[in-house]
């Protein structure tokens, strides 16, 4: 039997790792909610599992997503992950080939060179030896990049690297030592029995026979011990993402979705964070306001180690830029919202003081301006204008005595209160018998779409205006204006509406692209989700965003959110307008030449 005492740390570490991982996975899987469990059961034996294996190969081993974002960083991850994976697989095949059976001792593949002491002299063994050396070289090149990244992160295109906790540092040190120790140990064996290929053999030639004899066993002991340290620290460090991400990919492919409540899926997501720190560079709090301890990576880390505090949970604009940047595709904003949930008395009614309006209006179309739009009355006037130009009958739901949509409450974790508001609004809407609900505020829009269960069509006013234009109900004047469109977070990243506003604006003027647009668009700083930062910090964020948006000095900075408009209005010398205001100004009025003249003068005044 191929045995030496130095295999004990490795075997012990590997079995401990296996036990801890199985225990953790079982715990999280049992915490999945009913819907998620149903999907897992239904799709377990289906084509989706094969698709998941494919995805695991591409994301967990090749790291395609990171590769796309940053090739050098992608290579680093790929060489370490895929290189190590191949080392294990090829090593296993080599060992099986050598032993002549598939069921050889499990440690034989890991310490193969030590046990297979015969000189490799036929081509298959030579081939294996060469491949293993090549793979080790690839892994070592990745390791070199990792060390460079740790010392000087800017070389690899990362402005700010993550600060790590003690578990991570132990695991990281062990991981860094594994491959150099393996190289040295195998080289010393190669020096003694000449079983190495170009790399191990080459380094082995540098060792004297006496020296190799002295260091061979200690090196294997060190290699095995470092493996033990890495295996035991893995489940408690960031490297837990390696096994977690595999299960997460399967769960996602099977159709499990994260809901409003914290569930087992959230556990897998939190543990799948590799703390790469890509979200730090994406965060506006980091690059505009120099707040560097609240980003998603730290939020997730603190949650995992049960150290989450109010300040970190609440200090987030919830703009979704980190979610967009995350190479693992974690729903970071949603997890933050799940964790903000407070304990409340179930079934308590908070808003009974709101008048129960006996609405007798039976309409097809409801217009819901929203709280924020009430503070930008120009948008409401513009919408009224557009409605009358299109000859549409509508009911202005919150013209007077309207109430909030409930999303601000939800974002702060007061679920019961949010539900109370939702049921109040739902009653009003269903009573009116409407078929279409138009919102002016993307915050309300997202709430109506995702948190209400209304069976009517819901539109943001930019979509509605586009529909009116397509149906030829309104016509617009064309002008020479240069327009920059700022994507509001909730409308763009929140609900994937990028095209309709641009299509409307392109009928009026020329749209100029900016550095950060669509998925990369910036937050105006006015976000309601953050209850920690003060006005001064918000203004810093706004100024930086405005500076980037108005680099080309456009005539109009257009947006589709009353909050964004409010944030930018006083800071920009040019015009800041909501898309509805612009459309209202450029309405082409038929059979009314006098009004048309006045309109043209207005347009002229904007151009000035």
């Amino acid at each position: 039997m191929n045995y030496n005492n130095f295999i004990i740390p490795f075997c012990l570490g590997a079995s401990l790792l296996l036990i801890i991982i199985i225990y953790k996975f079982a715990k999280w899987l049992s915490k999945l909610d009913k819907k998620q469990k149903y999907f897992v059961k239904r799709n377990f034996f289906s084509k989706k599992s094969i698709a998941a294996i494919n995805e695991v190969f591409r994301e967990a081993l090749i790291h395609r997503n990171i590769y796309r974002k940053n090739p050098l960083l992608g290579y680093m991850h790929m060489s370490l992950a895929f290189g190590w994976f191949l080392l294990i697989v090829v090593g296993k095949i080599e060992a099986s080939f050598y032993a002549g059976s598939f069921f050889e001792e499990p440690w034989l593949a890991i310490f193969f060179k030590f046990f297979a002491r015969e000189q490799a002299n036929f081509w298959v063994a030579n081939f294996f030896s060469f491949t293993m050396d090549l793979l080790l070289l690839i892994v070592l090149s990745g390791l070199a990049l990792a060390i460079i990244k740790r010392l000087k992160s800017k070389i690899l295109g990362i402005k700010k690297a993550t600060k790590h906790v003690i578990y991570d540092k132990i695991a990281l040190t062990a991981l860094w030592l594994i491959f150099p120790l393996r190289l040295l140990a195998e080289s010393s064996t190669a020096a003694l029995v000449q079983n190495g290929s170009f790399l191990t053999g080459g380094i082995g030639e540098l060792f004297s026979l006496q020296f190799a004899q002295n260091v061979e066993l200690p090196l294997y002991w060190a290699y095995s011990s470092v493996l033990f340290v890495f295996f035991v620290s893995l489940p408690f460090s960031r490297y837990m993402h390696i096994p977690s991400e595999v299960v997460l990919i399967f769960l996602r492919k099977w159709g499990a979705k994260a809901g409003e409540q914290y569930s087992g899926l959230s556990d897998f997501e939190i543990n799948s964070c590799s703390r790469c720190g890509i979200c730090i560079d994406a965060c506006q709090l980091s690059f505009s306001a120099n707040i560097n301890n609240v980003q998603s990576v730290y939020f997730i880390r603190d949650t995992r180690y049960k150290k989450l505090n109010d300040n970190i949970a609440n200090n987030c604009l919830m703009c979704g830029r980190c979610t967009e940047a995350c190479p693992v595709g974690l729903e970071l904003t949603l997890i933050r919202q799940q964790l903000r949930t407070k304990t409340e008395i179930a079934g308590k009614h908070y808003y009974d003081y709101c008048e129960n309006k006996n609405n007798k209006n039976k309409t097809d179309i409801i217009y819901f301006a929203g709280c924020m739009t009430q503070l930008t009355p120009n948008i409401i006037i513009a919408m009224k204008n557009i409605f009358s130009a299109a000859k549409v009958k509508y009911w202005f739901m919150d013209e007077d005595k309207g109430i909030c949509c409930g999303r601000p409450m939800r974002q702060q974790g007061f679920v019961q209160q949010s539900k109370d508001l939702i049921s109040k609004n739902t009653k009003l809407i269903s009573k009116s018998g409407a078929k279409l609900l138009i919102c002016s505020c993307p915050i309300c829009y997202k709430s109506f779409k995702e948190e209400y269960s209304l069976d009517i069509e819901i539109m943001h006013h930019s979509e509605y205006i586009k529909m009116l234009i397509d149906e030829n109900k309104i016509k617009l004047n064309k002008s020479e204006l240069n327009i920059v469109f700022h994507d509001p977070c909730e409308l763009g990243r929140g609900l994937n509406i990028y095209k309709p506003p641009r299509q409307v604006l392109s009928k009026i003027g020329k749209i100029i692209d900016t550095e950060f647009s669509e998925k990369d668009s910036l937050c105006c700083g006015g976000s309601l989700a953050n209850t920690v930062i003060e006005l001064e910090t918000q203004l810093e964020i706004r100024n930086k965003a405005l500076e980037i948006l108005t680099k080309s000095k456009p005539d109009i900075l257009a947006t589709a959110c009353p909050l964004c408009k409010k944030s930018f209005t006083h800071a920009y010398k040019g015009k800041v307008m909501d898309i509805a205001e612009i459309v209202s100004k450029f309405l082409y009025l038929q059979n009314n030449s006098k009004k048309q003249e006045i309109k043209e003068k207005e347009i002229f005044s904007i151009l000035k």
Partner: protein
């Protein structure tokens, strides 16, 4: 005694030496701008909840500052956290964060215990 339909009203004295102002100090650590409030009432004028009832941010803030916590938690429950007050405030007070933190402090609210 003859009932005249009138009576002498009880003395309403707030003894600031005995009042619990510690809570307001705690609040100011979380929201420093709370000290800047000049009680102008812009927040109450725009408030969505004030439109329906006599909920009043100034009042809540003053009560909290003076340590009059009786019935304050129920009063704060009327707020919808919509954030209009914060946008109109001429002194840049983060009114919304003040209400949020007052609620957390008064109700001793905490995050749901999540077992990880």
């Amino acid at each position: 005694m003859k009932n005249w339909g009138f009576k002498i009203s009880q003395a309403r004295i707030i003894d600031l030496d005995k009042a619990n102002t510690k809570m307001f100090e705690d609040l100011c650590l979380k929201v420093p701008s709370a000290k800047r409030c000049i009680m102008c009432g812009g927040c109450s004028a725009t408030c969505t909840a004030s439109n329906h009832t006599n909920f009043n941010f100034r009042n809540c803030n003053l009560m909290f500052r003076r340590g009059q916590f009786e019935g304050l938690a129920e009063e704060l429950d009327k707020c919808m956290l919509c954030g209009k007050c914060k946008l109109v405030c001429p002194r840049g007070v983060n009114t919304r964060a003040i209400i949020y933190n007052m609620r957390i402090i008064l109700n001793k609210m905490n995050y749901k215990n999540i077992e990880l």
